[in-house]
Assembly symmetry: C5
Amino acid sequence: MLVGKIVGHIVSTRKNEKLVGSKIMEVQLIENEELKNKFIVALDSVGAGIGERVLITTGCSARLAMPDQTAPTDAVIVGIVD
Amino acid sequence: MLVGKIVGHIVSTRKNEKLVGSKIMEVQLIENEELKNKFIVALDSVGAGIGERVLITTGCSARLAMPDQTAPTDAVIVGIVD
Amino acid sequence: MLVGKIVGHIVSTRKNEKLVGSKIMEVQLIENEELKNKFIVALDSVGAGIGERVLITTGCSARLAMPDQTAPTDAVIVGIVD
Amino acid sequence: MLVGKIVGHIVSTRKNEKLVGSKIMEVQLIENEELKNKFIVALDSVGAGIGERVLITTGCSARLAMPDQTAPTDAVIVGIVD
Amino acid sequence: MLVGKIVGHIVSTRKNEKLVGSKIMEVQLIENEELKNKFIVALDSVGAGIGERVLITTGCSARLAMPDQTAPTDAVIVGIVD
């Protein structure tokens, strides 16, 4: 799993129908409490916003956190770090 | 998930029968709004063309975006970025 | 699989309900018996604590080590290295 | 997915029984039409030979291209690039 | 898939019960016939020993090579290279 800070929001009007309604976030990774020059794009499942530090699950288990578990995603925000 | 710009088109006449009919795109990755020297090959599922910025799902969830969900692919274009 | 040393503990009050009750650990990777400048975040399934050297499974097989195998995680601590 | 050039052939007499009969190829990756100093080992499913440029699927979808879809592989050659 | 040389053996007394009885090996990767400064930890399924060159499957297909296919592992030695 990854920890990162949400730094942006990606807008896609034309996309797979199972992704409609999900916010698509760009997240800058944090390792050992330092922001790194690494980025990932993830769907939000917990109502997180820009600037928040979040926990991300990647790979084929990520979609288990989505309301529709057949959504074609490989990265989902599954928690907000306190 | 990844964001990138489509930079090319790969042609393969002899391929797995479940890949027949899919456009195979080469995509240059964009991180934090900058083009990077990183590339990925992905199938198109949304009618994207060269020069467009797209959203890509990788790994074993990628094929959930294909008409035939048993297609042997690990990267599919699932949206066009506005 | 990966070997690493637990270096921290991540707290997330607002998270996916299937992650409630799991300790979220930050682990520094060890390769060839040397600590590396690489980190991963993993759920604990064996009662490991800070400072211990552990074995981690990543990807979609990781959740097979969790009590609820549908937990949306991609990295789980599956053993303590002697 | 990846594109690469087959540069070698790996021989393994003692192996998992579901891998018997599959050619095991070493492939040098091509990104943006340039050969890179990156290599992957993949099973062949299309009759490709040394020197050919091929399309590779990785991860758990790779085995969908094998005659026996329960073969324990994470990389399969699924097409020959024209 | 990966090719590497077994360089060590990891001992874990306290581990997931489905991993009990499997040898846990540290493997140094070989790419294009050169040993690299990259390491992976994998379970053995073919009776390989230290010093042998082996073929490894990673990701969620790896456990298909294990006697218990629900073992929580992401890397298994599936062949010995001749």
